[in-house]
């Protein structure tokens, strides 16, 4: 009880209190900038990992560094050493009272995001384990900041600790290695960053950050008086840190070219994780759209878009009844908002499967032109005006001529469009038409 009271007293008079609105505002802005979709658990879980700790961690480290040096700056360390309370206990109380504000700010953000998503999401759930790891990481940031501030009470310590913590985690999280073909690939140290935690590496990340916290506390204890017991405790505290790093490194899959299999760092085969896709949710009578259950809130709008897409082609040869749309996508953006994208359905409507390219996309120019017209009717992305596919991968980009032809077709009356389609649609689908055959 006494300890809790002391923590409460320290927390009330702690400068870290000023960080709470900064962390909340920063988190709110970052989540908005990264287009948080509150209807999706995947979006919520990912942004909660990426958007709070990169700011809160360095900030609390800097605040802890400042607070740790207060006694020395005011020259009252000798006076405090005469109090009956153990020195380490006093420091731990102050450290925890500092860290608790960052922990609370993170919990507030997590509760807000989880609450909104719980109300609207139709599939999935919260990742409480990533929240727990983030909280342990914040304790570690505060512990190391406190240690640095205790060792050096200079006014420069706090800002330097904050900047080093920020830059360090940023560089670790974005660690890349150049490959032989000129591309870049993420390296395993990226998994040490809280923002990159995976379910596979989660236990080892928790061990790593807990170990870092204990190491800082043990070093603080040793700095007060050097003896064998305290030194041994520090050595012991380093073990989980090393263990966590080693296990994270070992858990990264790597390809064994000799035996043609995926292995971990110890040479053990990594079995391909079996992912059982959930039963899709389908809606629509004349046009059926099926999506992953997490996209169910947008399904009605997608069915409407798909019906509008198919409407001018109804009854033409090759158009099934009902039409089952394939290549359904999902898009987010400030302009279009969040939506299920049915644009990919165009390929199966205007082309036989035999005429589609390597990636299942349209290659014929006349088919592109009619596809442009259909997409423009529903406000879809026609890809007109985009630069030409530089690697020529057949990714379905229409040429400028095809786009022009599609725009000319759109200007015709509905009767003229229907007449042309009834005459030429069968040939269009089999790829026998060129742009010259379009009106």
């Amino acid at each position: 009880m006494t300890t809790l009271r002391l923590v409460a007293i320290e927390a009330r008079h702690n400068a870290a209190l000023l960080l709470v609105p900064v962390i909340l505002l920063g988190a709110w802005y970052l989540i908005d900038a990264q287009l948080w979709e509150p209807y999706l658990w995947s979006s919520t879980n990912e942004l909660l990992r990426k958007s709070v700790v990169p700011l809160a961690g360095p900030a609390i480290a800097g605040a802890a560094a400042w607070i740790a040096g207060n006694d020395r700056r005011r020259a009252i360390t000798d006076l405090l050493s005469t109090t009956p309370h153990p020195t380490l206990s006093r420091h731990l109380t102050r450290w925890f009272a500092t860290a608790v504000w960052a922990l609370l700010a993170y919990v507030v953000v997590a509760v807000y995001m989880f609450s909104r998503t719980t109300l609207h999401a139709t599939w999935g759930g919260p990742e409480f384990w990533s929240v727990a790891i983030a909280e342990v990481a914040l304790l570690a940031f505060a512990a190391w900041g406190y240690l640095a501030g205790y060792l050096s009470a200079s006014r420069f310590t706090a800002p330097i600790v904050a900047v080093v913590a920020f830059s360090g985690q940023m560089f670790v999280a974005n660690s890349m290695a150049a490959m032989g073909d000129g591309t870049q690939r993420s390296t395993w140290p990226t998994l040490l960053a809280v923002s990159n935690v995976t379910e596979r590496s989660a236990p080892w990340q928790a061990l790593l950050y807990a170990g870092l916290t204990f190491t800082a506390i043990a070093a603080l204890w040793l700095a007060q008086r050097r003896d064998l017991v305290r030194g041994a405790l520090l050595a012991l505290a380093i073990v989980p840190v090393v263990g966590g790093v080693v296990m994270i490194w070992a858990g990264v899959p790597r390809w064994d070219y000799a035996n043609n299999r995926l292995v971990d760092g110890w040479g053990n085969t990594i079995a391909a994780e079996e992912y059982t896709a959930p039963e899709p949710v389908c809606r629509g009578d004349d046009v059926v759209v099926c999506v992953h259950p997490q996209f169910q809130p947008w399904l009605d709008r997608a069915v409407l878009d798909a019906e509008h897409l198919v409407a001018p082609l109804r009854g033409l040869p090759g158009i099934a009844s009902p039409v089952e749309c394939r290549n359904i996508g999902f898009g987010t953006g400030r302009n279009d908002g969040t939506r299920v994208v049915v644009d990919g359905c165009v390929d199966q409507l205007v082309a036989d499967e035999s005429t589609l390219g390597q990636y299942g996309r349209i290659e014929n120019e006349a088919q592109h032109a009619i596809g442009v017209w259909l997409l423009a009717r529903i406000g879809g992305h026609t890809m007109c005006g985009m630069s030409v596919d530089p690697l020529d991968l057949g990714m379905g980009f229409p040429s400028e001529s095809a786009c022009d032809a599609g725009e000319r077709f759109a200007v015709l009356t509905e009767a003229e469009q229907r007449d042309w389609l009834e005459t030429h649609f069968a040939d269009l689908r089999t790829g026998r038409l060129t742009l010259a055959d379009l009106p």
């Binding site: 400068a15 200079s154 420069f156 706090a158 800002p159 900047v163 920020f166 560089f171 870049q184």
Partner: protein
């Protein structure tokens, strides 16, 4: 001399040199880092060092001095800023791509943020504003107007933002800060 000693100008210079050395090391050893992250992160350390040196240990008592302290404050901080820019530009000369103007722009802007934040929250927390801004900018699209610290090449908008913040920060730091406690160093 007392003025410079009270602001810990000597240690500040040492840290500016250390920051430049660190920047040089990053550019030499990790030359494959994304350029926008480099321009975002490298000026942060010298900016916060300059920001915290604006703190006066004398508080209001300093106002009875016979010398024009606002001018001293501006000259001192501007001088540190110029030295920091020169050191950072020197460190950036090893990069394959010319980052000198970008780093100078971001340093001026961050320093301005630090000084403005120090005016409001006290200079012991001057580092908070540039740190928070850098963290937010990390996830912004480079085309966004708010992402001026990491925009490359340096164009008029980002240059304007950096210079404006720097000027406002120096102006704010020229004024006395009653919030400073005389017993804190």
């Amino acid at each position: 001399m007392l003025f410079l000693r009270s602001r810990l100008a000597g240690p500040a210079l040492v840290w500016l040199v250390a920051a430049a050395l660190l920047a040089w090391l990053c550019l030499v050893r990790y030359d494959d880092l994304p350029l926008d992250l480099t321009t975002l992160a490298l000026p942060l350390l010298p900016a916060v060092v300059i920001g915290v040196t604006a703190r006066s240990p004398f508080g209001d008592a300093e106002e009875v001095a016979s010398r024009p302290l606002p001018l001293f404050r501006v000259l001192y901080l501007a001088g540190l800023l110029v030295i920091g820019i020169a050191l950072l530009i020197g460190a950036a000369s090893v990069a394959d791509i010319d980052l000198r103007l970008a780093l100078a722009r971001t340093l001026v802007g961050y320093t301005g943020l630090a000084l403005l934040c120090g005016r409001v929250l006290g200079y012991r927390l001057a580092w908070l504003a540039p740190l928070a801004y850098a963290a937010v900018t990390l996830y912004l699209d480079t085309a966004s107007r708010w992402a001026w610290p990491k925009q490359l090449p340096v164009e008029s908008w980002s240059l304007f933002c950096g210079l404006l913040l720097g000027a406002l920060g120096l102006l704010a730091a020229a004024q006395a800060t009653p919030g400073d406690q005389p017993d804190d160093l």
